[in-house]
Amino acid sequence: MDATALKSRVHAANLANQNTPGYKTKAVEFDAAFQQALAAGTSTRDIEASVYERHDLPEDNDGNNVSTERETLGQAQNQTLYNAYLALMQGKKKLLVTAISPAP
């Protein structure tokens, strides 16, 4: 969930800089490391999300490579994920509350 929150900030930063000459799209590296840890069966707790610049995207004449569409859609997808994680947490919380409340 922290990685999703960071991603939303990165998307906001990219959108804010869509007209900044020379600006390169920023992206968050987390999913690949997470998948790797899952596949290897190691702990996923210590994985830290890091931010890097993407240089592989097509650039405008001013050296800027932000695509408004990609950022907006990425942001929307990210928000849905965030809400899904929130729903999961909500479910966990309900379980806990049920467990600690006295039997009727």
């Binding site: 930063a13 959108l15 804010a16 869509q18 929307a76």
Partner: protein, 144 residues
Amino acid sequence: MPDAISFSPGTLFSAVDMSASAMSGERLRMTVASENLAHAGDTRRLADGLPYQRQRVLFQEALDQQGGATGAVQSTTVASPKYETRYDPSHPDANPEGIVHVPEISSILELTDLMTASKAYEANANAARGLLRMHENALRLGQE
């Protein structure tokens, strides 16, 4: 794996600040474009001896004290003068050699700028709205 860069986006509401910085930048761009359009053909000489200077908005990534990216954007207006010269000694704004300087302002360029700025403004407003909705949902965890 690509090299990580320094990115200090701060906390909760900093993402909304990023969008806000971009929105004011885009609004500045719209103001400047309409100012330029209003001054097209304005030949009155100012204190520096030349008529109105065409303005442009320059966007720069805002950095923190350590030089890391904050994600926000800094916008400044810079003069980018461009003149057409015409020989017309009878013109009241002609210089002693009889040359009139007319600011070269392309209405197509300014109007396209106006359009892209307003679209970028919208995109950032939507981003801010989405972020606030995320926070609202997270805050609702405490209820019920």
